[in-house]
Symmetry: C2
Subunit: 151 residues, 2 copies
DNA sequence: CCCGATGAGTTGCATATTGAAACCATTCTG
DNA sequence: CAGAATGGTTTCAATATGCAACTCATCGGG
């Protein structure tokens, strides 16, 4: 299960914590929105620019970083200068993170009567709520878990 | 299921997208690390400062924002000037997000032989891998789902 | 009661990151 | 071939961040 992510030349905020490392790679204002859009069929520079509204120079930088970190790969269309950015396996694996952020937002960042976009399966139904569980499938939460350092 | 989050006075990057709203609330360089530490028994200003290493003025600002958004609550300890920051229910509910970030980091941001901290249940065993599923418990991913706007 | 230490910030200033707008070189499109 | 679109880069102003020093309590000893 090792990564396509190239993690040389990164200076980690907290080298032993996986949460911190993930945030060092994608935890800025725009990267996760770019990834969200990549998961929703955005491919070109302009797709991302229009959907996120990010400044173009910043977008250039973020796309480059995400490519460098192995989350996106850049492909030049056969003839011509059209660039396409596609999620790598590591990038696609961020789906769980995006779903978790989305579900939290649905629960806590909208008033009851406010409309919002929804993520649905092939039958058009919403996904089940993500819930952390132990190895036996029993739900766990903050109080029933703990962090062990440097295992 | 409505929020303790106070979402007035926030100007959303993308008002209809729950992912974007969540990121507007916690998607900066430090907030999620503060929340991670709050889940790991950090309580005081100095706890957070020492664990994250964030600049003190920034920490002041982030704690205030998180309190304003209903993710932390601030309590003054009975005797003395000691301040304590505790997760609200909405804050505790970010556990899923933190676990998702952690598990992704474990899979993609560490070399195979690198040590990292681990999150374990009461028996000391690692949690099960979080996986998005549909309403019937079948796994779904980027390709088998889609976003419906403004539902 | 006085002294130093600690907790919880604030303030000022230097540096880094972002954003808005303009500019540029190809490459399609009609 | 002219005009738009694509995928950027450049410039400069506005923000945000980091660092160090400074406050202003209170706490704990002696």
């Amino acid at each position: 299960m090792n990564s396509a992510v190239h993690v040389d030349d990164v200076t980690w905020t907290d080298p032993t914590c996986p949460v911190a490392r993930t945030l060092d790679l994608v935890g800025d204002r725009w990267s996760l929105l770019i990834i969200r859009d990549a998961m929703d069929n955005a491919r070109s520079f302009t797709d991302f620019q229009q959907r996120t509204g990010v400044a173009r120079n910043i977008l250039t930088d973020r796309l480059r970083r995400l490519v460098d970190h192995g989350i996106l790969k850049r492909e030049t269309a056969i003839s011509g200068r059209r660039q396409v950015y596609v999620l790598t396996d590591a990038g696609r694996d961020l789906f769980t993170v995006i779903v978790a952020l989305r579900q939290w937002g649905e629960r806590h960042a909208f008033a009851d009567d406010e409309a919002h976009s929804a993520l649905v399966d092939e039958g058009g139904n919403p996904l089940a709520r993500l819930r952390p569980t132990d190895a036996h499938g029993h739900q766990v939460d903050v109080d029933s878990t703990e962090v062990i350092r440097n295992s």
